[in-house]
């Protein structure tokens, strides 16, 4: 983990709503899929705090190191980021938090990304892609414009393993990813379901719906949560989520004990 001054290599809009930013860093970045960075790139004190973004990709070649982020403009900070140019300076603290646990062997992986949540699960797909069995990918968006650009999609070429879902039916499955997973589960036996692990990132209602579905079906699920963050590395206690701790409820830091939690332990 470190705090680094980087320089923007590229920062471009893609499709209608997603931006992708590559940042050159002085040192190589190693990360576990699901880990994130705190990023800021504005002068002055307003905005004051850096913003959390999943690490989308990290590369090192010829002594040059860089890291990529994918983001959606939703407010002030992301609007400012989208206005930055190649050469502009940014600061990043990374890698942060606990990523996905991809250790199980012989498991069936269902990766679920709602909205810009795909930025958190694609790195997991990159990891799992090398394994036997691979993964299935469920991507949800309100409309087709809100799905990630095709050429970003890992294993997007492997038909059948990619489930696109849109709320308005303008592409793929007409419905939410929760509906799509429900469909997918149909006809699967208990033992098959027991081999499935869902890795999910997206809006909280989606995660909650998925967690309930998974709980009912005996499917394991890891959910990447979001919360407002000040520090991102566990010192402000600002980002907690209610997590079951035996009988009791504890407030665990999304930035430190998370962002990936066992969905069965989250108090939704």
């Amino acid at each position: 983990m470190g705090f680094r001054h980087g320089t923007i290599v590229r920062n471009e809009g893609h499709g209608t709503i997603f931006y992708r930013m590559e940042v050159a860093l002085p040192e190589p970045v190693q990360f576990v899929p699901g880990q994130f960075a705190m990023l800021s790139g504005w002068p002055g004190n307003d905005p004051l705090l850096p913003r959390p973004f999943a690490i989308y990709r990290a590369a090192s070649a010829g002594g040059r190191h860089s890291v990529e982020f994918v983001y959606k403009v939703v407010g002030r900070g992301t609007a400012l980021l989208s206005g930055l140019h190649g050469g502009d300076p940014v600061s990043v603290t990374l890698p942060l938090g606990r990523g996905f646990d991809l250790s199980g062997e012989g498991r069936t992986w269902w990766l679920v990304g709602g909205g810009v949540g795909f930025s958190t699960v694609f790195p997991a797909a990159d990891s799992l892609g090398h394994r036997k069995g691979g993964f299935e990918l469920f991507l949800g968006g309100r409309t087709r414009d809100q799905l990630p650009p095709k050429d970003w999609t890992p294993g997007g070429h492997t038909a059948g393993r990619l489930h696109l879902c849109t709320d308005d039916g303008t592409a793929g499955f007409h419905g939410t990813v929760v509906d799509a997973i429900r469909e997918r589960m149909k006809g699967m036996g208990v033992s098959d379901l027991a081999r499935v692990t869902i890795l999910a990132c997206g809006p909280r209602p989606m995660l909650k719906g998925l967690a309930e579905l998974a709980a009912g079906a005996g499917v394991a699920m890891q959910a990447s949560l979001e919360n407002h963050m000040a520090c991102g590395f566990g010192v402000c206690w600002g980002c907690v989520a209610a997590i079951r701790d035996g009988e009791a409820t504890a407030y665990r830091r999304v930035c430190k004990e998370g962002p990936v939690f066992n969905a069965m332990e989250v108090v939704w």
Partner: protein, 310 residues
């Protein structure tokens, strides 16, 4: 004349404590200290102050706990902490290993709570000081209730004073009409130093959902937004008490820190700045040193309190 000498950064605080430089990190913004080890050697700090400790572990407030405001942030953590026992058992040995100078910020609902925590941490021989949080705006009982009047603060400080031989700092609230008289009361009751300011009480609401943003409704405002208020209060208090004053509030860099020293603070604390730049505190140490070197000032002590009013 001083030429290219290394300036003396050490500062003397109350109760016979001397620290290597005037830069501390503020309670609640520095975890238990060890979290910053990846960013720099925490033994370089004058002192680090750990998250407010209570007798028993505290669950804290439900989320949402923080919110960004213009050049500031609101927090309503509700003093979530691991409790004094775990601190002494698990954290202290590691802080000692790291060579850190550290102080305990303590908090209770009743004076008895404060006494108990003070007694327990006083057993830690490596502990540099105790900072009594008499100013947390985010808990219903204790905290700010004691810190809002001279009488309240006097009663609390007298009791804690009897329980500890450690240097005793009292952290004051800015949400008062006359912080000077409260600081004076703390001094008279036996405090070795006063720390100010804690956060200003603030609030944020969402005009669409029509709800408060923070689960706790109100929160504490910190960050550069409050620096002018903090600086004024520190200046005020420096002229009202003889004990050292530890200045805090919106310090982002060495220039800000120097301004607090200039109006009379003996040391400063870095709070919210740790979030946007995890290296902020050590950069302040370096910045103060290079400023003194450039300006050929031999020591922090020579600079402190030299504001010229005419």
């Amino acid at each position: 004349m001083v030429r290219d000498m290394t300036p003396d950064l050490s500062v003397t605080l109350g109760g016979g404590l001397t620290i290597k430089n005037p830069v501390m990190t503020a309670s609640g913004t520095f975890g238990y200290g060890l979290e910053f080890a990846p960013f720099y050697d925490i033994s370089r700090l004058g002192c680090l102050i750990v998250k407010g400790l209570s007798r028993e572990p505290v669950l804290g407030n439900p989320p949402q706990r923080i919110f960004e405001t213009a050049s500031g942030m609101l927090n309503a953590i509700g003093l979530q902490n691991i409790g004094v026992e775990r601190f002494v058992r698990d954290v202290v040995p590691r802080l000692e290993d790291a060579g850190a100078t550290f102080a305990a910020n303590i908090y209770g609902k009743t004076p008895e709570d404060y006494e108990a925590v003070a007694e327990r941490v006083s057993e830690v021989s490596s502990l540099a000081a105790i900072e009594v949080n008499a100013s947390c705006p985010n808990v219903k009982e204790g905290g700010i209730a004691f810190g809002s009047s001279p009488d309240g603060i006097a009663r609390l400080v007298e009791r804690v004073r009897r329980k500890t031989g450690k240097p005793l700092w009292v952290k004051l609230s800015p949400n008062v009409t006359d912080v000077g008289s409260i600081a004076k009361a703390a001094e008279d009751a036996g405090a070795d130093a006063v720390t100010l300011i804690n956060t200003l009480i603030g609030m944020a609401v969402d005009h669409r959902t029509r709800r408060p943003v923070l689960a706790n409704v109100t929160g504490g405002l910190s960050g550069p937004a409050i620096k002018p208020v903090a600086l004024r209060m520190v200046w005020d208090v420096c002229r009202k008490v003889k004990i050292p004053v530890i200045g805090i509030g919106g310090i982002m860099n060495a220039e800000d820190a120097l301004q607090f020293l200039l109006v009379g603070a003996s040391a400063v604390q870095i709070g919210t700045a740790n979030f946007s730049n995890p290296r902020a505190a050590v950069e302040v140490v370096e910045g103060i040193e290079s400023f003194l070197r450039e300006e050929k000032i031999a020591s922090v002590a020579d600079y402190r309190g030299t504001l010229r009013l005419s």
